[in-house]
Symmetry: C2
Subunit: 210 residues, 2 copies
Amino acid sequence: MNTNFDIENFILDFSNSCQKKQKKVFSKNEVVTTYIKNRNQLCILLDGNADLVRYDLNGNRTIVEHFSKNALFGEVFYTITTNNELLVEAKSNCTVLFYSYDDIFHKCRNNCKFHQTLSENLPQLILNKVTDLNMRIELLTKRSTRDKLLGYFSLLSTRKLSTSFELPFSLTDLADYLSVDRSAMMRELKLLKEDGFIEKNGNRITLLYK
Amino acid sequence: MNTNFDIENFILDFSNSCQKKQKKVFSKNEVVTTYIKNRNQLCILLDGNADLVRYDLNGNRTIVEHFSKNALFGEVFYTITTNNELLVEAKSNCTVLFYSYDDIFHKCRNNCKFHQTLSENLPQLILNKVTDLNMRIELLTKRSTRDKLLGYFSLLSTRKLSTSFELPFSLTDLADYLSVDRSAMMRELKLLKEDGFIEKNGNRITLLYK
DNA sequence: TATTTTCCGTTGCAAAAGCAACACATTATG
DNA sequence: CATAATGTGTTGCTTTTGCAACGGAAAATA
């Protein structure tokens, strides 16, 4: 549907051509960045997996977003309030590019090809993010843990073009992502197995319905 | 924080200059648009209020987004699946501009000033939407009805710069927006009053804590 | 103005989800 | 390899939420 601009090649070709970015490598469990008001950072995950995690005042942990290769993140996408701490945590070894959104928006003085291409394609990149967020909202508005699980599984199944797939999360993290209690979720997973909706071997799920 | 481009003046100045748009007026409860795959419509709400509503297979109704003056909506922001019907319903009399996103993206042949300005400012407009969606996700990930209500109230209070404000929804619709049962929400509102967190007169809420 | 429709407020009861605790498996790490 | 840390799977109990139903208020409509 969307004019899917090839971020992959684009990044490979141009990631070294701009002076105003920083490239950093992180190892598992390191904090990639903390969201800070008014900084307007824009980051691109070149490689690896990372989670945007929120800790609220009660100490609850929520996985706000899960990022894989080529994901965009940073303060640009977020209104930071004082009630939460927002961190990006590396879930595996990661390579990340850091930009200032203001630089991108106003183009960098070198007028480098990267910035040119990026600013042309930025609307599309951000739109992709919007559709991701809308899918997330669709999941979160489901009224029961069962529906959240089935909704998420069907989404993964569509993405992988297969009724069988690995979860990109540990089950503990999946619960944080769906915003439900882990033990209640485990109970529901058991019921889904018993009721013949799914098969489950470790982190591999197979959908049986329809 | 964001270079806040003045959509209001922009729309006033240019809304009549482009050939490729349609302007329509709707009265309360009319369906403004239905989301259709591959159409890539982009709409701007010039005036009034409208809700993006989803009906799922179980007949559950969810208010996915609430739009007021100058809101952007349309299929561009959404991956449409077959499991849901997505409608925009006018909550009051509305005036709406309809564009094709493809026209905006590729600029219209007349090369009109509207399209020029719009495509320059589109990233910013979409970013505003992203931050809205992230706020919504923050609300929906709260674990209890109480926290959802308090979170939503504090958000409104921040926006209005006052501890006292009118809800933009009926209470029935608020429940659909927070994705909770209406009667359970009413019960929780009563408890919030009893516990001294809020005052409530009809749709006017006053925050008492802190 | 009379009447219909929608919304508000409430409640008892049933179902779902959260909490806490534990044993065991698996994976990191010294 | 031994040990620590993290993740999985399970359960009893408590709390929260959803469901269904109803009367009355408010708003829309004839």
